[in-house]
Amino acid sequence: MASSTHDVRRSDRAFKRGLQVAAWAILALFGALFWFLFMSAKPAFDAFGWQFYVTKVWNPVLDQYGALAFMWGTLVSSLLALVIAVPVSVGAALYLTELAPRPLRAPVGFLIEMLAAIPSVVYGIWGIFVLAPFLRKWVQPFLSEHLGFIPLFEGAPFGLGMMTAGIILAIMITPTITAITREVFRSIPDLLREGALALGATRWEMLRIAVLKTGAAGILGATVLGLGRAMGETMAVAMVIGNRADISLSLLKPGATMASVIANEYAEAGSDMHLAALTAVGLGLFFVSLIVNSAARAIIWRVERTGS
């Protein structure tokens, strides 16, 4: 008997040890990743210093590198994606939790979430062969002709470019934002809705006061998570953004993002400095994503504490 309890204790300890190892391994992996990125990028930092992140020349022939154009591209394409995706997602979530007939809610929600399961290269191919030609033929000529005086729509319509990338990204992050927002709305107690209605609010006023306002922080968290995904998205963007290391206000012009340049050039990077510069871009992306995700965590955490 004594030996058997001893055994149990030993196996308990082993189990605990095992879990500890698993948990710490993730942290160690994180550290190793950072260390690897930093060490591989070091030659670029030694050569260009912090100016690497504020210059836009990217010339592999002369071994001169700066990441500003890619940071700009990541920022603009992701913001464009948010501008399109957030209203659609919040609208969809609102409809699915508050207005849709009950039998419709689960299947439609499921279909929206299914969008997240489509591989990004498929979005990219769809972007090249369907979305880009459509925009080039029907949307962009109109924008460039009638709104061309605004810097945002200046230039010739190519199909490929910042606008196409932004729209593809918007489609890709919509399921994420919708799913989280839906959970946020669901977690709002019915008491609030009933209270608003009891005070004589119309249905729209009830949605505004009880649901949207209460869920605001949650929507923000979902948005930031969507932003994180948009910034890291690689393949689909590389296929449709037009890939020019340039800074332009126009959405019709080609651009490039931090993730897309790494995907494009890493495999065939010739010189050691080219490789180091690409890793330095990766390190930049690592930090930006880290900051965005932490912000999302913080917001969601706050919602969870105050919301329930």
Partner: protein
């Protein structure tokens, strides 16, 4: 517990078996490198497995740069590249590496100009188009070279490869020779800073942009252009002829270069050749074979090169739109490979 242990050690055993296969009947040779010759290489390696049952060759098309890096680290037995190794890279490998030309490829300039069935361009014009200095299809320079064509007043959209690529290396290698301005302003390499146009990923991406945008022009591998029936421009060579890319005109670019090839260990750029009838944007693609190999792997490699550069292998290449090596060159290459040092 025993099961778990088996489960864990199984992959290890398999790996060890694969490594020690060298001693056994079936020799496994690993290679990695260029994507451009992948269709012909995978065909060759598959066919060769049935010719010589004792050896199987495994090739991963991870890109020339990656192949060279793996060769330097010693994780593969041979590499493959579209561009000769740089002196810096050559300095890093343990044993000298032999450049073995296998087939010829070419870069085709493909265009989408409504109503224009054939197009003549000089190297200087191509350079100026890609630098953004020739902006319209009815530019007087293009019109002068195409008296019969009805060139429209249409903006030119130059399209380049956004991913680093041997195709870009060959194309820019030619443009640097053809245009002083291009040499100063852009330079050559697998990835360069293009002054104008838009970038698309891979041959398919470039072809997609060209197909969808009237006015677009881009460069793709000849194999890709031929299999997809793209409209391609004839480029003026050094003897003044406008030549369309074909397996014959590409092979012509390598004809008569044997003495030069021998002198430079086969590392010769054949863009902008002087040969009559030659297409000017042509290039070799090379296997990178270490000059010292183990007896088993080395002799298998020699036998393979002998077969691939022989009649059967080169015929397969032509069927896939790769240009075969000129015969006299193939003979010299095989003779050199047979001198590999086996230990």
């Amino acid at each position: 517990m025993l099961n778990l242990r088996n489960f864990l050690t199984l992959p290890l055993v398999v790996t060890l078996a694969a490594i020690s296969a060298e001693a056994g009947a079936n020799t496994l040779i690993n290679g990695a490198g260029a994507t451009f010759p992948q269709p012909i290489y995978s065909k060759w390696f598959a066919e060769y497995a049935s010719v010589n049952k004792a050896a199987s060759i495994n090739y991963q098309a991870i890109g020339s740069g990656g192949g060279i890096r793996q060769l330097i680290q010693g994780t593969v037995d041979f590499g493959a590249t579209d561009e000769p190794m740089s002196a810096e890279e050559a300095g890093k490998v343990k044993t000298p590496v032999l450049h073995v030309p296998t087939v010829l490829g070419a870069v085709a300039v493909s265009y989408n100009v409504p109503g224009v069935k054939s197009l003549n361009l000089t190297g200087e014009m191509v350079a100026e188009i890609f630098m953004g200095t020739i902006k319209k299809w009815n530019d007087p320079k293009i019109v002068a070279a195409n008296k019969d064509a009805k060139l429209p007043d249409l903006a030119i959209v130059p399209t380049y490869r956004s991913d680093g690529s041997g195709t870009t290396a060959v194309f820019t290698d030619y443009l640097v020779k053809a245009s002083k301005g291009f040499e100063i302003k852009v330079g050559k390499g697998k990835a360069v800073m293009w002054p104008a146009g838009i970038g698309a990923k891979g041959n398919a991406g470039v072809a997609g942009v060209i197909a969808q945008n009237p006015g677009a022009v881009g460069y793709v591998e000849l194999v890709f252009a031929a299999t997809n029936n793209l409209a391609v421009a004839s480029i003026q060579n050094k003897s003044g002829e406008f030549v369309a890319p074909s397996t014959a005109s590409v092979s012509a670019a390598a004809t008569g270069r044997v003495p030069e090839m021998l002198k430079n260990d086969f590392k010769v750029s054949i863009t902008d050749p002087t040969t009559k009838g030659a297409y000017p944007i042509s290039s070799f693609t090379w296997l990178l074979i270490p000059n010292e190999m183990s007896k088993v792997k080395g002799s298998a490699m020699i036998a393979f090169v002998d077969w691939a550069l022989g009649a059967t292998g080169q015929k397969m290449a032509a069927d896939l739109n790769y240009a075969p090596l000129p015969k006299e060159l193939a003979t010299e290459v095989v003779a050199r490979v047979k001198k590999l040092q086996l230990k």
